[in-house]
Subunit: 239 residues, 4 copies
Amino acid sequence: MNELTSVQNFSESLAAGDLRSALRAIGREFHSRRWSLGTSSNYSVVTGRNPLELLITASGKDKSALSNDDFVSVDSSGTILQDYKTSPQKSSAETLLHCLIAQSFPDVGAILHTHSIWATTLSRAALKPTQNQGVVCIEGYEMLKGLEGIRTHDTAVNVPVFRNSQDMVELSDRIKDVLMAPDESSSDFSPSHGFLLSGHGLYTWGRTLAEARRHIEIFEFLFEVIAHQNILARLPESQ
Amino acid sequence: MNELTSVQNFSESLAAGDLRSALRAIGREFHSRRWSLGTSSNYSVVTGRNPLELLITASGKDKSALSNDDFVSVDSSGTILQDYKTSPQKSSAETLLHCLIAQSFPDVGAILHTHSIWATTLSRAALKPTQNQGVVCIEGYEMLKGLEGIRTHDTAVNVPVFRNSQDMVELSDRIKDVLMAPDESSSDFSPSHGFLLSGHGLYTWGRTLAEARRHIEIFEFLFEVIAHQNILARLPESQ
Amino acid sequence: MNELTSVQNFSESLAAGDLRSALRAIGREFHSRRWSLGTSSNYSVVTGRNPLELLITASGKDKSALSNDDFVSVDSSGTILQDYKTSPQKSSAETLLHCLIAQSFPDVGAILHTHSIWATTLSRAALKPTQNQGVVCIEGYEMLKGLEGIRTHDTAVNVPVFRNSQDMVELSDRIKDVLMAPDESSSDFSPSHGFLLSGHGLYTWGRTLAEARRHIEIFEFLFEVIAHQNILARLPESQ
Amino acid sequence: MNELTSVQNFSESLAAGDLRSALRAIGREFHSRRWSLGTSSNYSVVTGRNPLELLITASGKDKSALSNDDFVSVDSSGTILQDYKTSPQKSSAETLLHCLIAQSFPDVGAILHTHSIWATTLSRAALKPTQNQGVVCIEGYEMLKGLEGIRTHDTAVNVPVFRNSQDMVELSDRIKDVLMAPDESSSDFSPSHGFLLSGHGLYTWGRTLAEARRHIEIFEFLFEVIAHQNILARLPESQ
């Protein structure tokens, strides 16, 4: 099995409405693309809205080898739902961030969190030691049109970068302040399609799982381009 | 399925004269080589010359999963031909550029447009903010001999870089001025084998689909080499 | 067969208690990930503790094509055990380092040694020509939590770098001095999860083979991130 | 089919004494590792010594899709042997260099020529515009032990870099002067295991095809390491 087979499995699972199989295919694909190594990353889909319910990968699983049992369902506070209480699985501490995103954007249907080489590198470089918040600005690239709703390259997407924390309540409060800011459009830090945790990774989302997956692909492409661009732009001119 | 299987599918489809299958195999290959991520890229083949007809990928399709229905036929103005008018597919806005290339070069049989990491990076670096046009110069590499008609490394291929635009009429007019310049050989910007859109990607072509595919492979190789070369050349000498 | 298939073979072999098959799957995976090219690398598992016994890859084997016969069993001094004396296989000179690690850490169950692009590059850059010992400091990355026992990104893992040598007795004595240092926690050079040989590669370990494999994956990820980070941090600020 | 399958096909073909199948497997592997893109590269095996006979890939073939007919046999002057005269295949112009290498080293059994990203980049950077000859020095790396006969990392392998030429007689004369130099050991340019053509690629060889293939793998690894090393060494120290 390889990346292309995984992508095909993903499409077939989606078509069959089998969300677990689709998430498992994403795990295999993202592991082979080096976006979900070790036991890093979390993936979720919104399975109910009133009240909010998310199906999310259980804590500490190797994403290249997820089984159908490696998921839990949680409510809006991240608490595991009754039917899963006898399961040996735990929800990840980062479940809170998935809940926060699902609550902040009523039309979000899926949330993907990954740990890639370039997201880690750029997010770390974007934050000075004394800062709690930074930004990775992506401006003028045609590939931005792969982010939902963007119709021209002639725009700037500001991806907020938050200082990493192991205290998920504190971290989600900091992110909430930005996500729920009264005038989103006026803020450089208003995350339209995703945000970064410094030295940690990317959160992005979509109305559907397919859209969220595409956003990961687009962001990862752009992060790598920006890193190379940055190096070329900062080297001295050749003599 | 993987890259080598895709390449084999491509050859078999070509041998059988099945252009859609060949283009679908190119989509799978180029996605796995990271040249056609998201729903980026467009591929076309010339299916008629008098009058001009192109078979081209429909707008907004994931290139790793093209079906036989994900194509449309267009005339020289990019208008979808009658038989396709009941199809739900749309032609891409960039169809105009494919038409322009097919019209400018009477022996072109296939046109490929891709969005790679290095084409995006180099094309962006090649254009200063105030410029409408730049150039990526590829000089002295043996691999240049992979471009049709080039018999020695001791030559320079100037790949023009055009400022990106969402206005395809305006953009194609700018490109047309260069493609149709009276004395092509005297111009640095005369694109013999391909051109770049800044921060966007590569257009290349060939008499056959196999030749166009080889040109993508050659250009992508050379873009990556040039980027590394550029970095090594601009670093300070070691002490 | 490819990387994902190898990972699956690995899990199935472990589940079946078939250590040789698991090590062979690791060889195929690590070769395709470019961590064990040529005939480089050595892998071992602890098969006995009183007295110490290790099952280790024989000397000079291509890791992408290990057979069940490409292993030997050795005692704590690295001497091949009786049952293997008629085998044509030899133990690698580096067997001594595997023995040293197994003896230094009583709960270690597996030891993996690889030669990757980034481990080679970073370990070489970490050592000045006149030094016998250096360090690669990995600080503040979320991915550090993939190393056993680490619960927060807010920590620093110092990976010692030892000058390379072909004299395994001399080299293992130098490493032993550090591994057996009375107050490990006070030393920057105390290797908690692994160490590097300069211009050579990585040694890491785990209580189980799965844990050691995960440590390779985590370290390799972090080495690549640190190299890119290093480049971005040392370039002049853009004007 | 993928890289690991190709490597397995290679081993099985060698075991069966089927040289064409082994060379075809090398083609598929090297294409997927980006060492033989487009129609670049040539591979040969020595099939006779008195008089010299080589079986070599025909000119202009896609190395990912070689058939059993894509080879020719040549004599020591590179002339196609009688049995092949009715074949539509041509020998490559670079056949002369294969003949020269086979004649210079009596124990050589196979010669491989590749065009990789890093061989192209480093070989180009190693030659100043006014020079006909340069060198890539590989010193102090453990992976050097993958080159036949090298027993310690504590050595320097000087890979000569020759200015590229389309005149194979002129080029092979220049290389011959170096290969046949009376006191090889005293010359920095004496190629023990391979040489580079600037902006073009690598030639390496071995007593067997397996040894030559391993040398490609080792050199490619080391070229990439050296490029990264070079960048890290030449950046300003961080403040």
